[in-house]
């Protein structure tokens, strides 16, 4: 579970319009998420899934997560332990899916300078991104309070559990 504390990690930098077919390839669609996650982004960076470390931060360009509604795209990052995703802009379904799995997403300002391997500190509530390698700080739009409640709960499912769970027979 991810809480609203700052997130520290190494940056993995990708380009514009990274789509959900590359995050959760159709060829592995019937496999469990553990298997599918091993192929996450292999079409753009074959090293990524094998080398990414828990807490690392994925950095994208514009329209990150464009494409299908497949939630496995967001789940794959969670499965790999990614701490946060930063991008110039996000596709709406990917944005919603990621938040629903408790993965913080922040929109990068146009002048943000982040290189592969830079160490970052991300504060989703305070709305800052520190590139500690370059010694630069960027102000970003914090995650809105109603979404942060869901992220803090660990995602939509635990949140629903708190609110709507009622005994039913199966």
């Amino acid at each position: 579970m991810i809480d609203s504390d700052p997130i520290y990690g190494r940056a993995w930098v990708f380009g514009d319009e990274i789509n959900t077919d590359t995050m959760a390839p159709g060829l592995y669609f019937k496999e469990p998420i553990e298997v599918m996650a091993r192929h996450c982004l292999e079409a753009v960076d074959p090293e990524f899934a094998a080398s990414v470390k828990p807490g690392d931060i994925v950095v994208g360009g514009s329209n990150f997560g464009v494409g299908s509604a497949r939630e496995q795209a967001a789940m794959a990052f969670r499965e790999l332990g990614v701490g946060a995703i930063l991008a110039r802009s996000f596709s709406r379904i990917f944005y919603r899916n990621a938040i629903n799995f408790g993965l913080p997403l922040l929109t990068l300002p146009a002048d943000a300078e982040i290189r592969a391997g830079d160490l970052l500190e991300v504060d989703p509530v305070g709305g800052t991104i520190d590139n500690t390698t370059l010694g630069k700080r960027y102000a970003v739009e914090p995650i809105p309070a109603h979404l942060m409640t869901m992220i803090d709960a660990g995602g939509l499912l635990p949140w629903l559990k708190d609110r709507y769970a009622k005994p039913q027979k199966f």
């Binding site: 077919d21 590359t22 159709g26 669609f29 019937k30 299908s68 497949r70 709406r92 379904i93 709507y164």
Partner: protein, 420 residues
């Protein structure tokens, strides 16, 4: 306050008089579309975890389309579970192997102007052709909908796109959509796109659905067309009486749009979107030296009855080029029946096409027609992201059924106007 159509529908669903753009509201869902892909197989375990049931089985529509017919034990198991879900929760609107969900929804007359509908698939935007709000959400959010009947959203601003003038021969809605991907870009998240103008007004529901289907490629929340007599006619043709207030669901004349665009349909030429993005589009002529291994007529967006008729018009009395294969997967059983009855299927098969079962199939590399390394495909589908239809190094060009059929005849990408 003047509102756009999408604002009015959201306001009604949220129980408010008005919905202001940017405002976060909770909406009551009128219809939830679940598919075999992200439906029961992902939702049922979560319902068990929550100890919850479904909020209203009558408002849930369940279809099998992504994994049909089963090609291996895994897809068979997914389909079995989907059928058990329908039975367990008493879902009567269950359409098993009847076709691709977005198309079957329209065929069954399940969409009405003014409805607030959600679907567990990104091309749920397709439904907006009926003047309703319909958008795609991930399975985790569909779980929330299935349990509570509600969903939160931020009221989107609307981009208005008007088309004027008559199409030249060989130019169709798909060419508009590919052209719009380039013109408007694919980064329109949290915005709705409303299509209008005399060209759109003159288009049938099948063609309007191409525009709203590919609103997903624009990255939009949804795409909508204001309802008119053509909309009501389509609902009646499905055996359903249109809602009494159907034609009242329109944008106010003084509604505020984020942007307005006007395009001249008469100047549009057949478009092709080159790998690996739908916005990478240009005149089909520019790609005439590209040899194709596979031509595919399929998917929710590109294999309805009129799409098959377009392909047959080109293929009548012609043959698929040696070294190229043409695969046709009609988008629904109803499409299949209509195309069988009017001789369209016979024309396609005589030309050398291979007929595939109804379903999503090769569109998302889930069924028959997957591409090998380095193969090139021209396809009437809506997405050409890397690896979408098979191996990572395969290359997919998107085009209209006319252009796909013409390319199958030539064995390389071809401008269909020479064939009509």
């Amino acid at each position: 306050m003047a509102q756009t159509l999408v604002q009015k529908i959201i306001a009604r669903a949220a129980g408010q008089d008005v919905a202001r753009c940017g405002e976060i509201v909770t909406c009551n869902v009128d219809l939830a579309l679940l598919l075999d892909s992200g439906g029961p197989r992902r939702i049922w375990p979560r319902l068990k975890e929550l100890g919850a049931g479904v909020w209203d089985p009558d408002k849930i529509v369940l279809m099998t389309d992504h994994f049909v017919p089963a090609v291996d034990a895994q897809s068979a198991a997914i389909l079995k579970l989907t059928r058990e879900f329908a039975c367990h929760f008493g879902i009567e609107k269950f359409f098993d192997m009847k076709g691709i969900g977005h198309v079957v929804l329209a065929e069954q007359g399940l969409l009405q102007p003014g409805m607030f509908a959600v679907g567990g698939d990104s091309h749920s935007t397709n439904g907006g052709a009926f003047g309703c709000y319909m958008a795609g959400f991930g399975a985790i959010e569909m779980t929330g909908v299935v349990v509570t009947g509600q969903i939160w959203l931020q009221v989107p601003e609307t981009i208005r796109v008007d088309w004027f003038g008559e199409f030249a021969k060989g130019v169709v809605a798909k060419d508009m959509s590919l052209y719009l991907c380039r013109e408007l870009g694919m980064d329109n998240a949290f915005r709705a796109v409303e299509f209008g103008g005399e060209t759109v007004r003159s288009m049938g529901m099948f063609e309007r659905m191409v525009l709203t289907n590919m609103a997903a490629e624009l990255g939009a929340e949804t795409g909508l067309v204001e309802p008119d007599d053509i909309t009501l006619e389509a609902i009646r043709a499905a055996g359903v009486e249109p809602a009494a207030d159907a034609l009242e669901w329109r944008s106010d004349p003084d509604a505020v749009y984020l942007a307005r665009h006007e395009f001249d349909a008469a100047r549009l030429v057949p478009q092709v979107a080159a790998p690996h993005r739908p916005s990478n589009s240009g005149p089909a002529d520019d790609y005439c030296d590209v040899a194709v291994d596979q031509a595919y007529i399929g998917a929710c967006v590109g294999a309805k009855h009129n799409d098959l008729q377009m392909a047959a018009e080109v293929l009548q009395g012609r043959k698929v080029a040696p070294g190229t294969r043409l695969l046709v997967a009609p988008s629904s059983q109803q499409t299949m029946a209509l195309a069988a009855a009017d001789g369209t299927l016979a024309t396609l098969v005589e030309a050398g096409a291979t007929l595939l079962p109804t379903g999503c199939g090769a569109c998302a590399a889930l069924g028959a027609g997957v591409l090998a390394e380095d193969e090139v495909c021209i396809s009437s589908t809506n997405r050409n992201f890397q690896g979408r239809m098979g191996a990572n190094s395969s290359r997919v060009y998107l085009a209209s059924p006319y252009t796909v059929a013409a390319s199958a005849v030539m064995g390389r990408i071809a401008d269909p106007r020479e064939f009509l």
